[in-house]
């Protein structure tokens, strides 16, 4: 009797304290994320007035306009091009680096710090530096290679040049997550595999990758979402006179242009609702697909 009562008090305690500890985060999420999501969806049915005054309900007009708007679909293509380059490369490179840095060697923390540094720098500063590296006239890249490539103003390649900046800035973060995941893999597996004569590459594909798959899955999900939301790099690197802008602007960039520059918040909201829908569909597919390749111990 006594023990049961004690157990329930403890359970109740855990329940109360559990909620108390996640309460600040929940509150932040609700106020800063969840309520705005519904407000945005609501706003997408309006022709908005200046400073949020005088909104007129127009039903699905914004959506009808969007489905016929070539600029929106071009931005969807641009965003996918960016994500398709950024996500796999940033994950693959970070994974290899994490494996190489997950051992005892001289200056390992120095290397880890160096690769993580881009994560500490402000995205706007990173973009400004890369903008000058890529500059066709005075840029370091063209200077070193002796080329004359319009990295960021040739519509065919500009979006990939921006993806390179994205890869460079995110590698360190992915690497740290992978390093954390690698610590969980018991040494014994590798020892056993070595005795059986498996090479390093065999071990990587048959031990490291499967056992790291929950981390890889997490990184993939968050990177796909992050990649589809790309904005700051494009905003900082691409001037509005840039001839490649049309083939580079992402969905969020277009949302920013419509909402804050042209002051059409209703249409901007509609564009961002499309992005939410795209991200949700892709994430659902990833959750289904994980059953095929992610191993939880």
């Amino acid at each position: 009797m006594g023990t049961i009562k004690k157990g329930t008090t403890r359970e109740r305690n855990e329940f109360v304290w559990g909620w108390a500890f996640i309460f600040p985060t929940m509150l932040g999420l609700i106020i800063l994320n969840i309520i705005p999501i519904f407000q945005t969806i609501y706003q997408s049915f309006f022709k908005t007035g200046d400073f949020g005054k005088g909104n007129i309900f127009i039903g699905l007009d914004n959506y009808i306009k969007m489905f016929g708007d070539a600029e929106v679909w071009q931005s969807v293509i641009n965003t996918f091009k960016y994500a398709i380059v950024e996500v796999p490369f940033s994950i693959a490179i970070a994974l290899v680096l994490a494996v190489l840095l997950n051992r005892k060697m001289m200056g390992v923390s120095a290397y880890r710090t160096i690769f993580f540094l881009p994560m500490v720098a402000a995205p706007a500063a990173i973009a400004m530096v890369w903008r000058w590296l890529f500059n066709s006239e005075f840029g370091l890249l063209n200077h070193i290679f002796g080329t004359n490539i319009n990295w960021i103003s040739d519509p065919a390649i500009a979006v990939f040049a921006i993806a390179v900046i994205g890869i460079w800035s995110i590698i360190g973060y992915n690497m740290v997550l992978f390093l954390a995941g690698l610590q969980e893999i018991p040494r014994d597996y590798y020892e056993a595999a070595s005795i059986d004569g498996a090479t390093g590459i065999n071990q990587f594909f048959n031990i490291t990758v499967p056992l790291l798959s929950p981390t890889i899955f997490f990184v993939t999900i968050t990177r796909v979402i992050g990649g589809l939301q790309v904005f700051d790099l494009i905003f900082m690197v691409m001037d509005k006179n840039n001839p490649a802008l049309y083939k580079t602007q992402s969905i969020v960039y277009l949302f920013y242009q419509n909402s804050f520059v042209e002051n059409n918040k209703g249409y901007g909201s509609t564009i961002v609702v499309l992005l939410i829908a795209i991200i949700m569909v892709i994430t659902v597919f990833q959750m289904i697909a994980q059953k095929k390749w992610v191993y939880y111990n």
């Binding site: 500890f21 066709s136 006179n241 001839p243 042209e262």
Partner: protein, 426 residues
């Protein structure tokens, strides 16, 4: 002991929740009366003017005891932040207003109404300011901003490159055809130097001046698009010819910016507004190699038209110190401070006659052409909702600039877009 720990943890949790909230709350609107000694924040977008304006603000603080701090927010973010502030109730107290955006702010009751205070003022001489400029910042009979400055456009040329090519410096009597010939001579075949540079977004400071000089217009007498006027089209075709023969590739100009290309000796001439002087003065290369000439004339019309515009000083309706905000605006608008603004080289003054001082603010360049340009000026075109057609207009011009479309087609498209957007305003 254990209990104390729990209380501690709980209060920490509560503290986190509270600080989390405070971050997004910000300071709300203000109380009715306000605090007549409260400090003022002054928002501007031009780095080059900060130092001079802060000096004028310091003099204001000395005279009135009200602190005033000048903050620079870069042009692209300025309007986003100002609008967010206007919607959320947390705006700077005193700030610059521009003709592109003025109507939106005035018609939505965001700005402090200055009408009665200006009428009652004993120090302001409003008849000394240009009519167009005053009218720009009035809405339905009320005044919401007072003129800060005036700007005109002139040609900047690289003396060293002129010397190398053996071309005499321009004295301002040239025509656009002569300008084009000179630009051709300055353009080197190997692409190391180009005669001239302009982006589609160099509207006010470049191509619109050519349009008005050649007898065209951006907005016609009926307030609709002037891009179907044959003279406008002819002028734009002249611009197009220059883009493709004497300017760097459009991609280079967009990546680097025409002022940077000029400041690195890559381009021999650009046209720029008087607001750039403060920045150019501090650029070592430009200070050493460049000088200023008046915009060329058109051979047929004989005119050399410069666009002009002027900013206004406005205050937020929700400021904590409306009386102080007005006093600061009045301070900026008095003859003495207009003259001081000119002397310090911040910009030309809006007040009639004191800009002579501005010409003498530096001995590095001859700034007289900017003053001479005042002889024949056209006010920067604007409608009730200027940006609605202005941005698509610039966007469309990127196509002929990149050689994707001929200029006549672009002009036809711009006419259609502008007329559609202007019709929506009514």
């Amino acid at each position: 002991m254990k209990r104390r720990n729990k209380i501690l943890a709980l209060s920490l949790t509560a503290a986190m929740a509270v600080t989390g909230l405070a971050g997004c709350g910000g300071s709300g609107g203000s109380a009715g009366g306000g605090d007549p000694k409260a400090g003022l924040t002054v928002a501007i977008w031009d780095n080059g003017q900060q130092k001079g304006l802060q000096e004028i603000c310091n003099a204001f603080t000395e005279a009135t005891g009200i602190p005033a701090q000048v903050q620079v927010i870069e042009w692209n973010s300025y309007w986003t932040l100002l609008e967010a502030g206007a919607s959320g109730g947390d705006m700077p107290d005193v700030f610059w207003m521009h003709s592109n955006e003025a109507v939106k702010y005035m018609s939505n009751d965001i700005l402090l109404d200055l009408t009665d205070k200006v009428a009652a003022s004993t120090v302001l001489e409003m008849d000394k300011f240009p009519e167009d400029l005053k009218a720009m910042y009035q809405w339905e009979g009320k005044t919401y901003a007072l003129p800060k400055d005036m700007d005109t456009i002139a040609v900047w040329y690289n003396k060293t490159l002129f010397d190398e090519a053996g071309i005499p410096y321009p004295d301002g009597s040239w025509t656009w055809d002569e300008f084009y010939e000179i630009a051709q001579k300055l353009t080197k075949d190997d692409g190391s130097v180009y005669g001239f540079a302009a982006n589609p977004s160099n509207e006010q400071d470049t191509w619109m001046n050519i349009v008005y000089t050649m007898g065209g217009c951006v907005l016609n007498d009926q307030g609709m698009s002037g891009f179907d006027d044959p003279k406008t089209i002819a002028a734009m075709e002249f611009v197009d010819k220059m883009v493709h023969t004497v300017m760097p590739p459009a991609s280079t100009m967009s990546e680097t910016g025409t002022d940077v290309l000029f400041g690195s000796g890559k381009v021999a001439m650009i046209t720029q507004g008087s607001w750039m002087v403060a920045g150019f003065k501090d650029n070592e290369y430009i200070a050493e190699h460049a000088d200023v000439a008046r915009l060329p004339k058109d051979a047929a019309t004989g005119r050399s038209v410069s666009l002009y515009n002027g900013l206004g000083w406005a205050a937020s309706k929700s400021t904590k110190n409306p009386e102080g905000a007005y006093q600061l605006i009045e301070w900026f608008t008095t003859k003495d401070m207009q003259q001081k603004q000119a002397e310090l080289g911040v910009t030309m003054a809006a007040y009639e006659g004191v800009s002579d001082q501005w010409v003498n603010n530096t001995d590095k360049f001859n700034l007289t052409p900017y003053l001479e340009a005042m002889d024949d000026v056209v006010f920067r075109p604007s409608t009730k909702s200027t940006l609605a057609w202005w941005n698509p207009m610039v966007e469309e011009l990127k196509k002929p600039w990149n050689g994707e479309e001929d200029m006549a087609t672009a002009c036809a498209n711009i006419t259609a877009i502008m007329n559609e957007k202007i019709a929506e305003e009514k």
